[in-house]
Protein backbone atom coordinates (compact mmCIF):
# COMPACT_ATOMS: atom_id res chain seq x y z
CA UNK A 1 0.00 0.00 0.00
CA UNK A 2 2.74 2.40 1.06
CA UNK A 3 4.84 1.68 -2.01
CA UNK A 4 1.88 2.09 -4.31
CA UNK A 5 0.99 5.38 -2.75
CA UNK A 6 4.57 6.57 -2.89
CA UNK A 7 4.82 5.69 -6.55
CA UNK A 8 1.58 7.46 -7.24
CA UNK A 9 2.70 10.51 -5.32
CA UNK A 10 5.45 11.04 -7.84
CA UNK A 11 2.89 11.90 -10.47
CA UNK A 12 0.30 13.86 -8.58
CA UNK A 13 0.75 16.06 -5.60
CA UNK A 14 -2.90 16.36 -4.51
CA UNK A 15 -3.78 19.31 -2.29
CA UNK A 16 -2.71 20.23 1.22
CA UNK A 17 -6.22 21.39 2.13
CA UNK A 18 -9.31 21.31 -0.06
CA UNK A 19 -10.35 24.72 1.25
CA UNK A 20 -7.64 27.24 2.20
CA UNK A 21 -9.96 29.19 4.50
CA UNK A 22 -9.70 27.08 7.71
CA UNK A 23 -5.90 27.22 7.70
CA UNK A 24 -5.94 30.93 6.96
CA UNK A 25 -8.48 31.66 9.69
CA UNK A 26 -6.60 29.58 12.25
CA UNK A 27 -3.28 31.20 11.39
CA UNK A 28 -4.86 34.63 11.54
CA UNK A 29 -6.60 34.12 14.90
CA UNK A 30 -5.83 30.74 16.50
CA UNK A 31 -8.79 29.49 18.54
CA UNK A 32 -9.76 25.96 19.54
CA UNK A 33 -12.87 25.99 17.37
CA UNK A 34 -10.87 27.09 14.34
CA UNK A 35 -8.26 24.43 15.09
CA UNK A 36 -10.94 21.77 15.13
CA UNK A 37 -12.30 23.01 11.80
CA UNK A 38 -8.75 22.94 10.43
CA UNK A 39 -8.17 19.39 11.72
CA UNK A 40 -11.38 18.25 10.00
CA UNK A 41 -10.28 20.00 6.82
CA UNK A 42 -6.92 18.19 6.91
CA UNK A 43 -8.63 14.85 7.59
CA UNK A 44 -10.99 15.34 4.64
CA UNK A 45 -8.09 16.34 2.36
CA UNK A 46 -6.07 13.28 3.46
CA UNK A 47 -9.05 10.99 2.79
CA UNK A 48 -9.55 12.57 -0.62
CA UNK A 49 -5.87 12.10 -1.45
CA UNK A 50 -6.01 8.47 -0.24
CA UNK A 51 -8.94 7.94 -2.60
CA UNK A 52 -6.92 9.46 -5.45
CA UNK A 53 -3.89 7.40 -4.37
CA UNK A 54 -1.65 10.40 -3.74
CA UNK A 55 0.12 11.79 -0.71
CA UNK A 56 0.78 15.46 -0.19
CA UNK A 57 4.16 16.17 1.43
CA UNK A 58 3.71 17.53 4.96
CA UNK A 59 0.00 16.81 5.15
CA UNK A 60 0.30 14.18 7.89
CA UNK A 61 2.79 16.37 9.79
CA UNK A 62 0.44 19.38 9.83
CA UNK A 63 -2.56 17.22 10.70
CA UNK A 64 -0.48 15.74 13.53
CA UNK A 65 0.29 19.22 14.87
CA UNK A 66 -3.42 20.10 14.77
CA UNK A 67 -4.38 16.87 16.61
CA UNK A 68 -1.66 17.37 19.22
CA UNK A 69 -2.88 20.89 19.86
CA UNK A 70 -6.37 19.47 20.32
CA UNK A 71 -5.00 17.07 22.93
CA UNK A 72 -5.08 13.91 20.79
CA UNK A 73 -1.47 12.91 21.44
CA UNK A 74 -1.69 9.27 20.39
CA UNK A 75 -3.36 10.01 17.06
CA UNK A 76 -0.95 12.89 16.49
CA UNK A 77 2.01 10.57 17.04
CA UNK A 78 0.63 8.11 14.47
CA UNK A 79 0.32 10.95 11.95
CA UNK A 80 3.91 12.07 12.63
CA UNK A 81 5.05 8.47 12.06
CA UNK A 82 3.06 8.37 8.80
CA UNK A 83 4.92 11.45 7.58
CA UNK A 84 8.28 9.91 8.51
CA UNK A 85 7.39 6.66 6.76
CA UNK A 86 6.31 8.23 3.51
CA UNK A 87 8.93 10.99 3.43
CA UNK A 88 12.18 9.86 5.08
CA UNK A 89 13.72 13.30 4.43
CA UNK A 90 11.26 14.71 6.99
CA UNK A 91 12.63 12.54 9.83
CA UNK A 92 14.65 15.28 11.56
CA UNK A 93 11.92 17.88 11.76
CA UNK A 94 9.19 15.33 12.50
CA UNK A 95 11.27 14.05 15.41
CA UNK A 96 11.46 17.64 16.62
CA UNK A 97 7.65 17.84 16.35
CA UNK A 98 7.35 14.57 18.26
CA UNK A 99 9.64 15.86 21.01
CA UNK A 100 7.59 19.08 21.15
CA UNK A 101 4.04 17.72 20.95
CA UNK A 102 4.16 14.03 21.89
CA UNK A 103 7.31 13.55 24.02
CA UNK A 104 5.87 10.59 25.94
CA UNK A 105 5.33 8.67 22.70
CA UNK A 106 8.66 9.52 21.10
CA UNK A 107 9.79 5.90 20.86
CA UNK A 108 6.43 4.71 19.51
CA UNK A 109 6.85 4.39 15.73
CA UNK A 110 3.47 2.83 14.97
CA UNK A 111 1.96 4.21 11.77
CA UNK A 112 -1.46 3.81 10.16
CA UNK A 113 -2.38 5.09 6.72
CA UNK A 114 -5.97 3.91 6.62
CA UNK A 115 -8.90 6.27 6.03
CA UNK A 116 -9.43 8.81 8.80
CA UNK A 117 -12.75 8.84 10.63
CA UNK A 118 -13.62 12.53 10.30
CA UNK A 119 -16.87 12.17 12.27
CA UNK A 120 -14.88 11.01 15.32
CA UNK A 121 -13.51 14.55 15.52
CA UNK A 122 -17.04 15.81 16.19
CA UNK A 123 -16.90 14.31 19.67
CA UNK A 124 -14.12 16.71 20.65
CA UNK A 125 -15.39 19.45 22.92
CA UNK A 126 -13.81 22.81 22.21
CA UNK A 127 -14.26 26.16 23.84
CA UNK A 128 -15.78 28.82 21.65
CA UNK A 129 -14.72 32.43 22.16
CA UNK A 130 -17.54 34.90 22.89
CA UNK A 131 -16.99 36.33 19.42
CA UNK A 132 -17.38 32.94 17.81
CA UNK A 133 -20.47 32.17 19.87
CA UNK A 134 -22.00 35.49 18.93
CA UNK A 135 -21.17 34.93 15.28
CA UNK A 136 -22.63 31.43 15.49
CA UNK A 137 -25.81 32.71 17.14
CA UNK A 138 -26.07 35.46 14.56
CA UNK A 139 -25.61 32.93 11.82
CA UNK A 140 -28.18 30.56 13.27
CA UNK A 141 -30.69 33.38 13.60
CA UNK A 142 -30.26 34.27 9.96
CA UNK A 143 -33.19 32.74 7.99
CA UNK A 144 -31.02 32.64 4.89
CA UNK A 145 -28.49 30.51 6.75
CA UNK A 146 -31.25 28.19 7.99
CA UNK A 147 -32.55 27.91 4.47
CA UNK A 148 -29.07 27.11 3.25
CA UNK A 149 -28.61 24.51 6.00
CA UNK A 150 -31.90 22.84 5.08
CA UNK A 151 -30.92 22.89 1.45
CA UNK A 152 -27.56 21.39 2.33
CA UNK A 153 -29.19 18.65 4.37
CA UNK A 154 -31.60 17.92 1.55
CA UNK A 155 -28.76 17.83 -0.94
CA UNK A 156 -26.80 15.52 1.33
CA UNK A 157 -29.80 13.21 1.70
CA UNK A 158 -30.36 13.19 -2.07
CA UNK A 159 -26.68 12.60 -2.68
CA UNK A 160 -26.70 9.71 -0.20
CA UNK A 161 -29.78 8.15 -1.83
CA UNK A 162 -28.25 8.62 -5.25
CA UNK A 163 -25.00 7.04 -4.05
CA UNK A 164 -26.90 4.03 -2.62
CA UNK A 165 -28.85 3.64 -5.86
CA UNK A 166 -25.70 3.97 -7.89
CA UNK A 167 -23.91 1.42 -5.73
CA UNK A 168 -26.83 -1.01 -6.11
CA UNK A 169 -26.88 -0.50 -9.86
CA UNK A 170 -23.16 -0.93 -10.02
CA UNK A 171 -23.35 -4.14 -8.00
CA UNK A 172 -26.02 -5.51 -10.37
CA UNK A 173 -24.00 -4.40 -13.33
CA UNK A 174 -20.89 -6.03 -11.91
CA UNK A 175 -22.77 -9.29 -11.29
CA UNK A 176 -24.13 -9.27 -14.85
CA UNK A 177 -20.71 -8.54 -16.20
CA UNK A 178 -19.26 -11.34 -14.09
CA UNK A 179 -21.83 -13.82 -15.41
CA UNK A 180 -21.15 -12.69 -18.96
CA UNK A 181 -17.44 -12.99 -18.38
CA UNK A 182 -17.87 -16.50 -16.97
CA UNK A 183 -19.92 -17.62 -20.01
CA UNK A 184 -17.39 -16.06 -22.29
CA UNK A 185 -14.56 -17.76 -20.43
CA UNK A 186 -16.31 -21.15 -20.70
CA UNK A 187 -16.86 -20.70 -24.44
CA UNK A 188 -13.33 -19.62 -24.86
CA UNK A 189 -12.08 -22.64 -22.96
CA UNK A 190 -14.14 -24.95 -25.18
CA UNK A 191 -12.87 -23.28 -28.32
CA UNK A 192 -9.34 -23.52 -27.09
CA UNK A 193 -9.73 -27.23 -26.30
CA UNK A 194 -11.05 -27.95 -29.81
CA UNK A 195 -8.31 -25.93 -31.35
CA UNK A 196 -5.74 -27.80 -29.26
CA UNK A 197 -7.18 -31.18 -30.38
CA UNK A 198 -7.05 -30.16 -34.02
CA UNK A 199 -3.56 -28.88 -33.60
CA UNK A 200 -2.48 -32.16 -31.96
CA UNK A 201 -3.94 -34.20 -34.85
CA UNK A 202 -2.23 -32.00 -37.35
CA UNK A 203 0.99 -32.42 -35.45
CA UNK A 204 0.66 -36.19 -35.43
CA UNK A 205 0.06 -36.31 -39.23
CA UNK A 206 2.97 -34.04 -39.76
CA UNK A 207 5.19 -36.24 -37.61
CA UNK A 208 4.15 -39.41 -39.55
CA UNK A 209 4.89 -37.74 -42.86
CA UNK A 210 8.23 -36.62 -41.58
CA UNK A 211 9.02 -40.16 -40.41
CA UNK A 212 8.22 -41.64 -43.82
CA UNK A 213 10.27 -39.04 -45.52
CA UNK A 214 13.17 -39.76 -43.22
CA UNK A 215 12.95 -43.50 -43.96
CA UNK A 216 12.94 -42.87 -47.72
CA UNK A 217 15.85 -40.56 -47.39
CA UNK A 218 17.75 -43.15 -45.37
CA UNK A 219 17.16 -45.82 -48.04
CA UNK A 220 18.26 -43.44 -50.75
CA UNK A 221 21.38 -42.64 -48.81
CA UNK A 222 22.11 -46.37 -48.34
CA UNK A 223 21.76 -47.00 -52.07
CA UNK A 224 23.98 -44.14 -52.88
CA UNK A 225 26.58 -45.33 -50.40
CA UNK A 226 26.59 -48.81 -51.94
CA UNK A 227 27.03 -47.43 -55.45
CA UNK A 228 29.81 -45.23 -54.28
CA UNK A 229 31.53 -48.18 -52.58
CA UNK A 230 31.32 -50.24 -55.79
CA UNK A 231 32.73 -47.39 -57.80
CA UNK A 232 35.55 -47.04 -55.36
CA UNK A 233 36.32 -50.77 -55.56
CA UNK A 234 36.51 -50.65 -59.38
CA UNK A 235 38.70 -47.63 -59.24
CA UNK A 236 40.96 -49.33 -56.72
CA UNK A 237 41.23 -52.42 -58.96
CA UNK A 238 42.08 -50.26 -61.93
CA UNK A 239 44.67 -48.43 -59.95
CA UNK A 240 46.21 -51.73 -58.78
CA UNK A 241 46.37 -53.03 -62.35
CA UNK A 242 47.94 -49.85 -63.51
CA UNK A 243 50.46 -50.02 -60.72
CA UNK A 244 51.34 -53.63 -61.62
CA UNK A 245 51.79 -52.68 -65.31
CA UNK A 246 53.93 -49.77 -64.30
CA UNK A 247 56.06 -52.01 -62.09
CA UNK A 248 56.52 -54.53 -64.89
CA UNK A 249 57.49 -51.78 -67.28
CA UNK A 250 59.98 -50.46 -64.81
CA UNK A 251 61.43 -53.95 -64.29
CA UNK A 252 61.80 -54.47 -68.02
CA UNK A 253 63.41 -51.12 -68.35
CA UNK A 254 65.82 -51.92 -65.57
CA UNK A 255 66.65 -55.29 -67.13
CA UNK A 256 67.33 -53.61 -70.48
CA UNK A 257 69.49 -51.06 -68.84
CA UNK A 258 71.43 -53.81 -66.99
CA UNK A 259 71.95 -55.74 -70.21
CA UNK A 260 73.12 -52.58 -71.89
CA UNK A 261 75.53 -51.92 -69.09
CA UNK A 262 76.82 -55.54 -69.25
CA UNK A 263 77.41 -55.26 -72.99
CA UNK A 264 79.16 -51.98 -72.50
CA UNK A 265 81.36 -53.51 -69.81
CA UNK A 266 82.15 -56.53 -72.05
CA UNK A 267 83.08 -54.19 -74.89
CA UNK A 268 85.31 -52.23 -72.66
CA UNK A 269 86.97 -55.43 -71.40
CA UNK A 270 87.56 -56.56 -74.90
CA UNK A 271 88.95 -53.17 -75.71
CA UNK A 272 91.26 -53.39 -72.73
CA UNK A 273 92.36 -56.91 -73.74
CA UNK A 274 93.10 -55.71 -77.21
CA UNK A 275 95.10 -52.82 -75.86
CA UNK A 276 97.03 -55.20 -73.61
CA UNK A 277 97.75 -57.52 -76.47
CA UNK A 278 98.84 -54.55 -78.53
CA UNK A 279 101.09 -53.40 -75.75
CA UNK A 280 102.55 -56.87 -75.37
CA UNK A 281 103.20 -57.06 -79.05
CA UNK A 282 104.85 -53.72 -79.01
CA UNK A 283 106.92 -54.75 -76.03
CA UNK A 284 108.07 -57.97 -77.69
CA UNK A 285 108.78 -56.04 -80.85
CA UNK A 286 110.83 -53.57 -78.90
CA UNK A 287 112.84 -56.33 -77.15
CA UNK A 288 113.48 -58.02 -80.50
CA UNK A 289 114.72 -54.80 -81.95
CA UNK A 290 117.04 -54.25 -78.98
CA UNK A 291 118.34 -57.82 -79.39
CA UNK A 292 119.04 -57.24 -83.05
CA UNK A 293 120.81 -53.98 -82.25
CA UNK A 294 122.87 -55.80 -79.63
CA UNK A 295 123.84 -58.49 -82.11
CA UNK A 296 124.73 -55.92 -84.64
CA UNK A 297 127.08 -54.20 -82.33
Amino acid sequence: MATALLTASCYNEGTLVNNPAPLLQYQHKPTEARLLTLAKSYAEAINQNLKDQVIHPGQYADYGVALAKLGLQEQANVMFNNEKTFFPNSTKYVEFLKRTYTPNLFADNHFDTSKIDVKALDSIRVEYTPEELAAQQELEADPEYQKMLKLQQLEEKEAKAAAVKKAREERAKAKKAERKAQTKAREKEKREKEQAKKAAEKERAKAKKAEQKAKEEAKKAERKAKEEAKKAEIEAKKAAEKAAADAKKAEQKAQKEAEKAALKAQKEAEKAEKAAKKAQKEASKASQESDVEAEDE
Binding site: E13, A21, Q27, H28, G58, D62, A66, S90, T91
Partner: protein, 262 residues
Protein backbone atom coordinates in the same frame (compact mmCIF):
# COMPACT_ATOMS: atom_id res chain seq x y z
CA UNK B 1 -7.78 19.43 -12.46
CA UNK B 2 -7.74 23.11 -11.59
CA UNK B 3 -4.06 22.93 -10.72
CA UNK B 4 -3.22 21.10 -13.92
CA UNK B 5 -5.02 23.74 -15.99
CA UNK B 6 -3.21 26.56 -14.20
CA UNK B 7 0.08 24.76 -14.62
CA UNK B 8 -0.39 24.17 -18.37
CA UNK B 9 -1.50 27.78 -18.91
CA UNK B 10 1.49 29.10 -17.03
CA UNK B 11 3.96 26.88 -18.84
CA UNK B 12 2.62 27.84 -22.27
CA UNK B 13 2.63 31.50 -21.28
CA UNK B 14 6.20 31.17 -20.12
CA UNK B 15 7.22 29.69 -23.45
CA UNK B 16 5.43 32.34 -25.51
CA UNK B 17 6.15 35.47 -23.51
CA UNK B 18 9.75 34.99 -22.53
CA UNK B 19 11.55 34.07 -25.72
CA UNK B 20 14.38 36.55 -25.26
CA UNK B 21 14.85 36.38 -21.50
CA UNK B 22 17.68 34.65 -19.68
CA UNK B 23 17.82 30.87 -19.50
CA UNK B 24 17.20 28.99 -16.28
CA UNK B 25 20.68 27.49 -16.37
CA UNK B 26 22.08 31.00 -15.77
CA UNK B 27 19.42 32.45 -13.46
CA UNK B 28 19.20 29.38 -11.22
CA UNK B 29 22.85 28.31 -11.53
CA UNK B 30 23.30 27.86 -7.77
CA UNK B 31 20.02 26.04 -7.42
CA UNK B 32 21.11 23.51 -10.05
CA UNK B 33 24.39 23.06 -8.17
CA UNK B 34 22.93 22.73 -4.66
CA UNK B 35 19.86 20.66 -5.57
CA UNK B 36 17.79 21.50 -2.45
CA UNK B 37 14.81 19.30 -1.65
CA UNK B 38 13.31 20.17 1.73
CA UNK B 39 12.13 23.78 1.81
CA UNK B 40 10.82 25.72 4.79
CA UNK B 41 8.45 28.57 3.99
CA UNK B 42 8.83 31.39 6.47
CA UNK B 43 5.79 33.46 7.50
CA UNK B 44 5.28 36.52 5.30
CA UNK B 45 7.20 39.66 6.17
CA UNK B 46 4.52 42.33 5.89
CA UNK B 47 6.12 45.74 5.24
CA UNK B 48 2.94 47.48 4.08
CA UNK B 49 1.87 50.74 5.63
CA UNK B 50 -1.35 50.50 7.62
CA UNK B 51 -3.88 53.13 8.44
CA UNK B 52 -4.40 53.94 12.11
CA UNK B 53 -7.55 52.18 13.28
CA UNK B 54 -9.82 55.18 13.65
CA UNK B 55 -12.90 53.59 12.14
CA UNK B 56 -14.38 50.14 11.56
CA UNK B 57 -13.38 50.48 7.93
CA UNK B 58 -9.72 50.89 8.94
CA UNK B 59 -9.96 47.89 11.24
CA UNK B 60 -11.54 45.77 8.50
CA UNK B 61 -8.89 46.85 6.00
CA UNK B 62 -6.06 46.06 8.42
CA UNK B 63 -7.53 42.65 9.14
CA UNK B 64 -7.91 42.04 5.40
CA UNK B 65 -4.25 42.93 4.78
CA UNK B 66 -3.14 40.71 7.70
CA UNK B 67 -5.05 37.77 6.31
CA UNK B 68 -3.73 38.37 2.80
CA UNK B 69 -0.15 38.38 4.16
CA UNK B 70 -0.85 35.13 6.04
CA UNK B 71 -2.29 33.65 2.86
CA UNK B 72 0.90 34.40 0.90
CA UNK B 73 2.85 31.85 2.99
CA UNK B 74 0.16 29.23 2.37
CA UNK B 75 0.02 30.01 -1.36
CA UNK B 76 3.68 28.99 -1.79
CA UNK B 77 3.16 25.36 -0.74
CA UNK B 78 1.37 23.97 -3.81
CA UNK B 79 3.67 25.42 -6.51
CA UNK B 80 6.76 24.15 -4.67
CA UNK B 81 5.25 20.69 -4.24
CA UNK B 82 4.19 20.58 -7.88
CA UNK B 83 7.84 21.28 -8.83
CA UNK B 84 8.86 18.19 -6.84
CA UNK B 85 10.12 19.87 -3.67
CA UNK B 86 9.18 18.91 -0.14
CA UNK B 87 7.61 22.06 1.31
CA UNK B 88 7.22 21.95 5.07
CA UNK B 89 3.57 22.86 5.71
CA UNK B 90 2.61 26.04 7.62
CA UNK B 91 1.75 24.66 11.08
CA UNK B 92 4.86 22.50 11.28
CA UNK B 93 7.03 25.21 9.70
CA UNK B 94 5.84 27.86 12.12
CA UNK B 95 6.50 25.55 15.08
CA UNK B 96 10.09 25.15 13.88
CA UNK B 97 10.57 28.89 13.41
CA UNK B 98 9.06 29.68 16.82
CA UNK B 99 11.66 27.45 18.39
CA UNK B 100 14.43 28.74 16.12
CA UNK B 101 13.48 32.30 17.05
CA UNK B 102 15.22 34.43 14.42
CA UNK B 103 13.99 37.60 12.75
CA UNK B 104 13.26 37.94 9.05
CA UNK B 105 16.49 39.89 8.64
CA UNK B 106 18.53 37.21 10.38
CA UNK B 107 16.92 34.55 8.22
CA UNK B 108 17.68 36.66 5.14
CA UNK B 109 21.29 37.57 5.98
CA UNK B 110 22.52 35.63 9.02
CA UNK B 111 24.08 32.23 9.46
CA UNK B 112 21.30 29.64 9.42
CA UNK B 113 23.30 26.47 8.77
CA UNK B 114 21.93 24.80 11.93
CA UNK B 115 18.49 24.70 10.30
CA UNK B 116 19.92 21.86 8.23
CA UNK B 117 21.63 20.00 11.06
CA UNK B 118 18.68 20.38 13.46
CA UNK B 119 15.68 19.98 11.15
CA UNK B 120 17.02 18.60 7.86
CA UNK B 121 16.04 21.73 5.93
CA UNK B 122 17.94 22.48 2.68
CA UNK B 123 16.58 25.93 1.81
CA UNK B 124 14.27 28.57 3.22
CA UNK B 125 11.76 30.56 1.19
CA UNK B 126 11.31 34.10 2.45
CA UNK B 127 8.36 36.10 1.16
CA UNK B 128 7.62 39.74 1.75
CA UNK B 129 4.84 42.14 0.81
CA UNK B 130 6.05 45.73 0.45
CA UNK B 131 3.01 47.63 -0.73
CA UNK B 132 -0.67 47.35 -1.62
CA UNK B 133 -2.36 49.75 -4.04
CA UNK B 134 -5.91 50.10 -5.30
CA UNK B 135 -5.76 52.54 -8.21
CA UNK B 136 -9.32 51.71 -9.37
CA UNK B 137 -12.43 50.14 -7.87
CA UNK B 138 -11.85 47.00 -9.93
CA UNK B 139 -8.05 46.87 -9.57
CA UNK B 140 -5.70 45.69 -6.86
CA UNK B 141 -1.90 45.99 -7.03
CA UNK B 142 0.73 44.43 -4.79
CA UNK B 143 4.52 44.55 -4.63
CA UNK B 144 6.07 41.34 -3.35
CA UNK B 145 9.48 39.73 -3.03
CA UNK B 146 10.37 36.01 -3.15
CA UNK B 147 13.78 34.84 -1.92
CA UNK B 148 14.97 31.27 -1.77
CA UNK B 149 18.08 31.05 0.41
CA UNK B 150 20.31 28.04 0.86
CA UNK B 151 20.54 26.92 4.46
CA UNK B 152 23.85 25.13 3.87
CA UNK B 153 25.79 27.91 2.11
CA UNK B 154 23.68 30.99 2.79
CA UNK B 155 23.58 31.78 -0.94
CA UNK B 156 20.47 33.16 -2.63
CA UNK B 157 19.17 30.47 -4.97
CA UNK B 158 16.36 32.66 -6.31
CA UNK B 159 15.40 36.29 -5.77
CA UNK B 160 12.42 37.79 -7.55
CA UNK B 161 10.54 41.05 -7.18
CA UNK B 162 7.02 41.05 -8.56
CA UNK B 163 4.49 43.77 -9.18
CA UNK B 164 1.15 41.97 -9.19
CA UNK B 165 -1.95 43.52 -10.69
CA UNK B 166 -5.45 42.07 -10.80
CA UNK B 167 -8.21 43.60 -12.87
CA UNK B 168 -11.84 42.67 -12.53
CA UNK B 169 -14.41 43.12 -15.28
CA UNK B 170 -17.00 45.86 -14.63
CA UNK B 171 -20.68 46.18 -15.61
CA UNK B 172 -22.32 49.14 -17.38
CA UNK B 173 -22.49 51.06 -14.12
CA UNK B 174 -18.79 50.49 -13.47
CA UNK B 175 -19.41 47.97 -10.70
CA UNK B 176 -17.00 44.97 -10.54
CA UNK B 177 -18.36 41.60 -11.75
CA UNK B 178 -17.10 38.33 -10.34
CA UNK B 179 -15.47 35.93 -12.82
CA UNK B 180 -16.64 32.32 -12.56
CA UNK B 181 -13.30 31.13 -11.11
CA UNK B 182 -13.21 34.00 -8.60
CA UNK B 183 -16.82 33.34 -7.65
CA UNK B 184 -16.05 29.67 -7.02
CA UNK B 185 -13.11 30.63 -4.79
CA UNK B 186 -15.31 33.07 -2.84
CA UNK B 187 -18.02 30.44 -2.43
CA UNK B 188 -15.57 27.78 -1.24
CA UNK B 189 -13.66 29.95 1.18
CA UNK B 190 -16.60 32.15 2.27
CA UNK B 191 -14.18 35.09 2.12
CA UNK B 192 -15.15 38.68 1.63
CA UNK B 193 -14.78 39.47 -2.10
CA UNK B 194 -12.08 42.12 -1.51
CA UNK B 195 -9.96 39.71 0.54
CA UNK B 196 -10.64 36.93 -1.96
CA UNK B 197 -9.28 39.09 -4.80
CA UNK B 198 -6.13 39.88 -2.87
CA UNK B 199 -5.68 36.17 -2.11
CA UNK B 200 -6.31 35.19 -5.73
CA UNK B 201 -3.71 37.70 -6.91
CA UNK B 202 -1.15 36.40 -4.39
CA UNK B 203 -1.90 32.82 -5.35
CA UNK B 204 -1.45 33.62 -9.05
CA UNK B 205 1.83 35.43 -8.34
CA UNK B 206 3.22 32.60 -6.19
CA UNK B 207 2.24 30.08 -8.83
CA UNK B 208 3.93 32.09 -11.55
CA UNK B 209 7.11 32.84 -9.59
CA UNK B 210 7.69 29.41 -8.04
CA UNK B 211 6.59 27.18 -10.90
CA UNK B 212 9.31 28.89 -12.95
CA UNK B 213 11.95 27.35 -10.67
CA UNK B 214 13.71 24.21 -11.98
CA UNK B 215 12.09 20.99 -10.83
CA UNK B 216 13.71 19.31 -7.85
CA UNK B 217 16.54 16.83 -8.44
CA UNK B 218 14.18 14.03 -7.34
CA UNK B 219 12.27 14.38 -10.61
CA UNK B 220 13.41 12.94 -13.93
CA UNK B 221 12.74 16.32 -15.56
CA UNK B 222 15.54 17.88 -13.50
CA UNK B 223 17.89 19.78 -15.84
CA UNK B 224 15.58 19.02 -18.79
CA UNK B 225 14.29 22.59 -18.77
CA UNK B 226 17.57 24.35 -18.08
CA UNK B 227 17.58 26.03 -21.49
CA UNK B 228 14.04 27.37 -21.19
CA UNK B 229 13.44 30.97 -20.18
CA UNK B 230 13.62 32.08 -16.59
CA UNK B 231 11.55 34.88 -15.09
CA UNK B 232 13.44 38.17 -14.85
CA UNK B 233 14.43 39.42 -11.38
CA UNK B 234 11.95 42.27 -11.64
CA UNK B 235 8.70 41.80 -13.49
CA UNK B 236 5.07 42.77 -13.54
CA UNK B 237 2.33 40.16 -13.42
CA UNK B 238 -1.10 41.13 -14.69
CA UNK B 239 -4.31 39.12 -14.29
CA UNK B 240 -6.68 40.44 -16.94
CA UNK B 241 -10.49 40.62 -16.61
CA UNK B 242 -10.78 37.81 -19.19
CA UNK B 243 -8.69 35.56 -16.96
CA UNK B 244 -5.54 35.73 -19.12
CA UNK B 245 -2.12 36.47 -17.63
CA UNK B 246 0.54 38.89 -18.87
CA UNK B 247 4.12 39.10 -17.71
CA UNK B 248 6.49 41.91 -18.54
CA UNK B 249 10.06 42.66 -17.50
CA UNK B 250 10.14 45.61 -15.12
CA UNK B 251 12.81 48.22 -14.77
CA UNK B 252 14.55 47.94 -11.38
CA UNK B 253 14.52 51.70 -10.74
CA UNK B 254 10.90 52.06 -11.78
CA UNK B 255 10.02 49.17 -9.50
CA UNK B 256 11.90 50.77 -6.60
CA UNK B 257 10.26 54.14 -7.20
CA UNK B 258 6.78 52.75 -7.37
CA UNK B 259 7.23 50.29 -4.53
CA UNK B 260 9.13 52.31 -1.95
CA UNK B 261 7.81 55.85 -2.48
CA UNK B 262 4.31 57.06 -1.75
Amino acid sequence: MKHTTIFITLISLLLVVSCKSEKKVTTYEDLYKEQPFTILIAPTQDNTKRPQEKSTQDRVLNEELDMAATFLQQSCVEPLVSQGYYAIPPLAGNTILQKYNKSYRELMQGNITDLHSLYGIDAILLVAIHKWKEPEVNEVVVFAEYTLRSVKTGQELMHTWVRGDKLQPVDDKGEPIELAADYKFIQTTQMEPRLAHRCLLLQGMSDFALRNMPTSASRWMFKQDQYTSANPNFYSFLMNPDGSIEREKYNEDAFGNECFTD
